[in-house]
Amino acid sequence: MEEARRVISVIVINEASVLSRISGLFSGRGYNIDSLTVAPIPDSKYSRITIVTAGSVRVIEQIIKQLHKLIPVLKVYEHADLVEKEMAMVKIPLNESLSDIEALAHAYNGRIVNVGHDTLIVMVADEPSRVGHFLEAIKRFHPKEIVRSGSVALER
């Protein structure tokens, strides 16, 4: 069956064991999670978990049902029409051209966020595929370290 990229949001009670319950549903079936983002929803006892994974329609349908079955899960959304963003930060040696870096970051909704003694840090926030393009383009500046967040998504 055809595997496609899926973004699933899960609203859960913010308690100690909940993340392992959710990741366990994937690992126990041998499915990989491509990325996962968790943060509390402001002014509530809930957290929102955004999971990016790949699977066939049947597999994803079953996982969504199993997620619903977990006691601390309030809601599960599988997004079809969504706005999805991801961020990345890159550490670059200071001997590279600052203005070139700034221009590149700007094209991907980003900027230089820190300049230290011998390195600078640049960040971008954009659609996952565009973050990927940025990370490809930034290679010419000899990045020392790259960190990429998981996705967050909202239905349009």
Binding site: K65, H68, K69
Partner: protein, 564 residues
């Protein structure tokens, strides 16, 4: 009320009207056992192994319909119990399992008898808790019982560190449960139900596919009424045995890998499957793409995740099967013409005539199927029947004349050898007036044989009938058929003396090699009020038939097997 965590456990069990706890003490759970010593409200049955404690709680739950309770200590006590917990999870048996844990300050330090218990039980429980403060205990235990018995039932595990059982805190069990993220769907969707009834009226060859969910929902009586009123024939899954009376003319038989020819052919020929509390297990469906190929599917289940998991349902109905049937009854009465399926009945009668479930007597050795039939003839409705796992289990499911729900107690989903004897102890505790039989094999019985001691101590006179073929029979059967008779590690010719074994524990043993001896032994065992082993020497190479080889199509059954 300011009391200790250990006292809270006792108070909660009393509030839940628990009459028996199966368990085994140890270091981390000692505070609770100290409180058990001081109380008189419920009985504690000391099994001789933690796995057996959980199986006994399962047997008790299955026979009584109540939540079973097991209690164990941390570390090895808990890991021993996990097989039972997993078994209950697979067969949707409501249990509350309470385990001790090392004190909070030692968690994560590789302390003596420490293991991440909630980490291990997570994938095989409906829900689990690590209680970190005694003030949570009332809520947690109340939720545990509610979760275990509501919706699709299952085991709930509560892990309590030793210092929490010593901690004094406020206990109030009267608070209502608030679980806003857990609301099982009980009531069926009336539009879907209407459509399902229309599909039944349009069908020519409808078939009721009855599953274990009917037993859990206490809906067997209603199913009997529904099938009688509509005259729709029925097949039962392994878990559903006893839903219809064995003499019910509408009951075809069990279907699946070792189902009857008629049941499997009916499933292959039907144009409308009416699935009630069944989950289209691989042992039922055989090759999925060929399963009920000509049929539309109505699927009623309390668990939305079971619907369209394996077989796509045309009419999915999420709800409690009893509730859904109650909604279906008046519509069915109005709209379904019971004479419509006459031709279909004739077809099925033909299937039945062509290849009925049967076996051939040959030689001097007793046939194992005869033993099952004979127990049925002698005890019938007066016995509750537990089994272990293997050939004997399938022969029992095929040949025992079940007459009521909760008469049949067996490990279906997990297939746990060693289940039968402790489960039969729990059954006897739940239903002491009936004879509790464990039909077992010479392999399985040794997997929880220590429970002879429990049976003697608590006067739970279970009768273990060993269908002894000196083989790990089911694996031997597969080796004969699919591994060119290489009987790797399945010859169990080296055996204990089961008669002396039973006697050494204070039980009674019988060695049987003729039919007359069997009748006499069973009669005597029923009269004697003590645990028994009847060791029946049966035909060594008998196979369970019919058989749909794993991955084969239901209609492609092996009806007989000739040794090459």
């Amino acid at each position: 009320m300011q009391i200790s965590g250990a006292q809270m456990v006792i108070e909660a069990l009393i509030a839940e009207e628990v009459e028996v706890v199966f368990g085994y003490p140890g270091g981390a759970i000692m505070n609770v056992y100290d409180e058990i010593y001081k109380q008189n409200s419920f009985q504690h049955v000391l099994t001789r192994h933690e796995q057996a404690a959980v199986h006994a709680a399962e047997g008790y739950s299955k026979a009584s319909g109540k939540v079973g309770v097991a209690m164990i200590t941390s570390g090895p006590g808990f890991t021993n119990a996990i097989t039972g917990i997993a078994d209950a999870y697979m067969d949707s048996i409501p249990l509350v399992v309470i385990s001790g844990q090392v004190p909070m300050s030692l968690i994560g330090t590789d302390a003596f008898q420490e293991i991440d218990a909630v980490g291990i039980s997570r994938p095989c429980t409906k829900h689990n808790y690590l209680v970190t403060d005694a003030s949570d205990l009332a809520r947690v235990l109340k939720e545990a019982f509610y979760l275990a018995r509501s919706g699709r039932p299952g085991p709930v595990h509560v892990d309590i560190p030793k210092d929490v059982t010593a901690q004094i805190a406020n206990f109030d069990y009267s608070k209502e449960i608030e679980l806003e993220t857990y609301k099982p769907t009980i009531k069926g969707n009336s539009r879907q139900i209407k459509k399902a009834i229309e599909a039944i009226t349009a069908a020519k060859r409808p078939l009721l596919y009855l599953g274990g969910g009917i037993i859990n929902a206490n809906a067997a009586e209603l199913v009997r009424e529904f099938s009688k009123m509509t005259q729709i024939p029925a097949v039962e899954t392994f878990m559903a045995r006893g839903t219809l009376h064995h003499e019910d003319p509408l009951l075809i038989s069990m279907l699946g890998m070792h189902g009857s020819y008629a049941a499997n052919m009916a499933m292959s020929e039907t144009d409308l499957v009416i699935g009630l509390g069944a989950r289209f297990d691989d042992r039922v469906t055989g090759k999925l793409s060929e399963f009920a190929k000509n049929a539309q599917i109505i699927h009623v289940d309390i668990d939305p995740a079971s619907i369209s998991k394996l077989v796509n349902a045309h009419f999915p109905i999420v709800g409690d099967v009893k509730n859904v049937l109650e909604m279906m009854m008046p519509l069915a009465k109005e709209q379904i013409d019971p004479s419509r399926y006459d031709a279909w009945h004739k077809t099925i009668a033909n299937f039945n005539k062509l290849h009925p479930l049967s076996y051939t007597e040959e030689g001097d050795r007793i046939k194992p199927q005869w033993v099952v039939e004979r127990i049925g003839q002698l005890l019938g409705d007066d016995a509750n029947i537990s089994t272990d796992v293997g050939q004997h289990q399938m022969w029992t499911a095929q040949f025992y004349p079940f007459s009521r729900p909760r008469q049949w107690i067996s490990s279906g989903g997990l297939g746990t050898m060693g289940f039968g004897f402790p489960a039969a102890l729990g059954v006897k505790r739940a239903d002491p007036k009936r004879v509790s039989i464990n039909i077992t094999g010479d392999g399985s019985i040794l997997m929880n044989i220590q429970e002879l001691m429990t049976a003697v101590e608590y006067k739970l006179p279970v009768i273990n009938v060993i269908l002894n073929n000196n083989f790990l029979g089911m694996v031997r059967q597969w080796q004969t058929m699919f591994y060119d008779k290489r009987h790797s590690q399945t010859d169990l010719s080296i055996q204990p003396d089961f008669v002396k074994l039973a006697e050494s524990f204070g039980g009674i043993g019988y060695r049987v090699s003729t039919k007359e001896e069997f009748d006499a032994a069973l009669k005597d065992a029923v009269e004697k009020d003590v645990v028994a082993i009847i060791d029946v020497a049966v035909n060594r190479f008998e196979n369970v038939l019919p058989m749909v080889p794993a991955g084969g199509s239901l209609f492609n059954m092996m009806l007989e097997y000739k040794e090459k």
